[in-house]
């Protein structure tokens, strides 16, 4: 396999052809903030937190869906990037009802952790305070749309790891929402296998095990990566 050589934050690194800038940077020990990226499923560039600057390109590019190229010069950390990342985060918070103190994911939430690490001490935009429901119809799991950031991790793990295709996205703009089957209550879904991979993949408290109290949603993401690796690398084949 041919390699590509590029510069990330002034550091010369090499990566396999076809690798994403995010993969290349991560392998070189350079950390780029992410939210919709999940090891084990393909990337969609939904959250815009991994935006990077590439020399010669005017617009900012998402590191997760941008492929490495020979001689590429990438910058992952600049005032401009931090400004946009922080803005993106604030917009995420303003768009739905994120109340960390009473959330099942408090202390284990990727959105909360990112907000802390990027120094988000307030939100400059008016909160929309939309009225979203909680779907608690499933026997084992619940979905609180108030806490959903539409990263689509659940959709991708449902389709591409479990292969059930239960989760989907409906609607447009701020009215977009994660649905089950044909926008039915989750408990009525015929395709759901109750595997819980969507719950494991959720970065916030939007998907949770029923009965969870504040701070109880601790995700086991390694399990998803383990399943994907085992399948792709044929570790289960005798």
């Amino acid at each position: 396999m041919s390699a590509r050589t590029l510069t990330v934050d002034g550091k010369q690194i090499s990566a396999e052809k076809g690798a994403s800038v995010l993969q290349a940077a991560t392998e070189a020990g350079i950390k780029i903030p992410t939210l919709c990226h999940l090891e084990g499923v393909y990337d969609v560039g939904a959250c815009r937190l991994c935006l990077v600057e590439v020399k010669g390109v005017n617009k900012l590019l998402p590191a997760c869906t941008t492929r490495v190229a020979e001689g590429m010069e990438v910058s992952t950390n600049s005032e401009r990037l931090n400004k946009y990342r922080r803005m993106t985060l604030e917009l995420l918070f303003a768009e739905r009802n994120h109340v960390c103190a009473v959330c099942v994911a408090n202390g284990h939430c990727e959105l909360q952790t990112l907000a802390y690490s990027l120094g988000m001490d307030h939100v400059r935009y008016d909160y929309i305070f939309p009225k979203w429901d909680v779907d608690n119809t499933h026997r084992l799991f619940g979905m609180d749309h108030n806490r959903c950031i539409l990263c689509t991790r659940c959709v991708r793990s449902c389709w591409h790891i479990e292969g059930a295709g239960t989760k989907n996205v409906a609607g447009r703009g701020t009215k977009s929402k994660i649905i089950t089957d044909l926008n039915q209550p989750w408990g009525d879904s015929e395709s759901c296998t109750e595997c819980g991979k969507c719950v494991m993949s959720c970065p916030t408290g939007a998907l949770f095990k029923k009965g969870s109290a504040v701070g109880e949603s601790v995700r086991d993401r390694d399990k998803l990566e383990f399943i994907v690796n085992a399948r792709e690398k044929k570790q289960w084949n005798a």
């Binding site: 029923k210 109290a213 109880e216």
Partner: protein, 474 residues
């Protein structure tokens, strides 16, 4: 001519409130009202949330007594799951509630109320506070603050943090008592007992010099309500409801808290966000009852622990039948601190508190659940109705301060009647009226399900609305 005196806001209580005193044409006090001027709406915005999140949400009602709400909420959750929680979980919840009793009562006694009766009613407001106590008696202030800290430490040791611990859950609790935690509490207990003894000595002296306050600070017949054990022993997190009257007779006993609506009515007044609960069989307002330390000691036959039992005997001698002076809430509070310390000591010797069987598991087995627990200020009810998916359809919270609403009105009227003569607002009256309210240690954040802090604004208003006299301070 007829007029109205308004004290707004009232200080050194937990929340925003004002007092109106209505005068008749002859310049005598006709009536008084304690208004809570905050509105929060917890009961409404909890609708639609899963019941399992409620212990976390409802404890945000208050920073002083989050434990009371989280426990009552978890209990309501137990009822929705229709489970018996593991015995160790029940003991651990009780230990948490004892920590809460200790910290809240210590706060009420040392920080909020003692400045009045230790420094004197007429000490200027600027120094009639906990800082005044620090200036007058550093050791006493320190000991009081440390006693509160002890209660808070128990809460932190069990729940992971002092305020808003995410620990009690429907079905049980999330973790047991660690060995380090047990050792820390054990090492601190002697100091807590010693401080309580100092407080008792101080209180005994105060009672000797405050005969008049005992007589006029909310000294009237009323009913008393609280939880008691089946044998009539003092309860704080379990047991059943008992109502007694001021002669000490039991009117109703061993009532399942889930049936509270058969015994408690809630009247709404258009002058306050605080509802006025009353004993239904006697009607409104005759069914006035008091809750909290004074009520719990009046309804209990014994405390169940030796030192506090000795004090209870002395306490009971202060009344014929029931002890009816609200000034003696302070005494009752000290006895409850002592009892709590003795129960904590007892729990420390119980190996079951280290058990890892702490949580019962179940789905929705009842669409309705009531959780009742004794908060420091009195009996707290959380009443939830859920749909079949466990989402809340209706939330009703009945908190201690609300239940004392009618009694607080009477207390204010009684004190004002004693001190108000003519058209002026006597400063001495203001201080004492405020203290009359403080006896109940009201928590308005809880009772209106709000937070706040306040200077003092008093207006004397004629019935036609003209302001006749006005004083501001703070």
């Amino acid at each position: 001519m007829a007029k109205r005196i308004v004290i707004d806001p009232v200080t050194r209580i937990e929340g925003h409130a004002k007092i109106s005193i209505f005068m008749d044409d002859a310049g005598n006090v006709a009536d008084a009202e304690f208004h809570v001027v905050e509105f929060r709406g917890f009961e409404k915005f909890c609708e639609g949330r899963p019941y399992s999140e409620m212990p976390g949400i409802t404890q945000r009602i208050c920073g002083i007594c989050p434990v009371s709400h989280t426990l009552a909420s978890a209990k309501a959750g137990d009822a929705i799951m229709a489970v018996n929680i593991p015995p160790a979980a029940d003991k651990l919840r009780r230990l948490l509630n004892l920590g809460q009793m200790i910290q809240s009562h210590a706060l009420s006694f040392f920080h909020l109320s003692a400045p009045d009766f230790l420094l004197g009613w007429d000490t200027p407001p600027a120094s009639r506070n906990v800082f005044g106590i620090i200036a007058a008696n550093k050791e006493l202030a320190r000991a009081g603050i440390r006693l509160r800290q002890f209660g808070q430490e128990i809460i932190e040791i069990l729940g992971g943090k002092k305020i808003h611990p995410a620990w009690a859950v429907p079905g049980g609790v999330r973790s047991s008592l660690s060995e380090e935690g047990r050792a820390k509490i054990r090492a601190w207990l002697p100091e807590a007992f010693a401080t309580t003894k100092v407080a008792f000595d101080l209180w005994k002296k105060t009672m000797k010099t405050h005969g008049r306050e005992i007589q006029i600070f909310g000294n009237f017949p009323s009913l008393f309500m609280g939880l008691v054990a089946p044998d009539g022993t003092w309860e704080h997190h379990g047991g059943k409801l008992r109502f007694t009257d001021s002669s000490g007779s039991i009117l109703a006993d061993q009532i399942d808290p889930a049936n509270y609506k058969d015994y408690i009515g809630e009247a709404v007044q258009n002058t306050s966000y605080l509802k006025s609960p009353y004993y239904l069989p006697l009607g409104f307002p005759e069914g006035i009852y008091r809750v909290g330390p004074l009520a719990r000691l009046n309804i209990a036959e014994q405390m169940g622990v030796p030192q506090a039992d000795e004090e209870l005997k002395k306490f009971k001698k202060l009344g014929r039948g029931a002890v009816t002076s609200s000034f003696l809430y302070h005494y009752a509070r000290l006895i409850e601190i002592l009892a709590s310390l003795e129960y904590v000591e007892r729990y420390l010797a119980d190996p079951e508190l280290s058990s890892d069987y702490l949580r019962a598991d179940a789905g929705i087995n009842s669409l309705h659940g009531v959780g009742a627990s004794e908060a420091p200020r009195g009996t707290l009810f959380h009443d939830y109705t859920v749909d079949r998916d466990g989402l809340l359809q209706k939330v009703n919270l009945i908190v201690a301060t609300g239940q004392n609403n009618l009694a607080m009105n009477q207390t204010v009227a009684q004190i004002a009647r004693h001190y108000v003569r003519g058209n002026d607002i006597p400063e001495a009256m203001l201080n004492r009226v405020e203290h009359g309210i403080r006896c109940y240690d009201p928590c308005l954040s809880c009772s209106t399900h709000a937070v706040g802090q306040m200077p003092l604004h008093v207006q004397m208003i004629a019935l036609d609305g003209r302001v006749l006299d006005e004083k501001m301070r703070g």
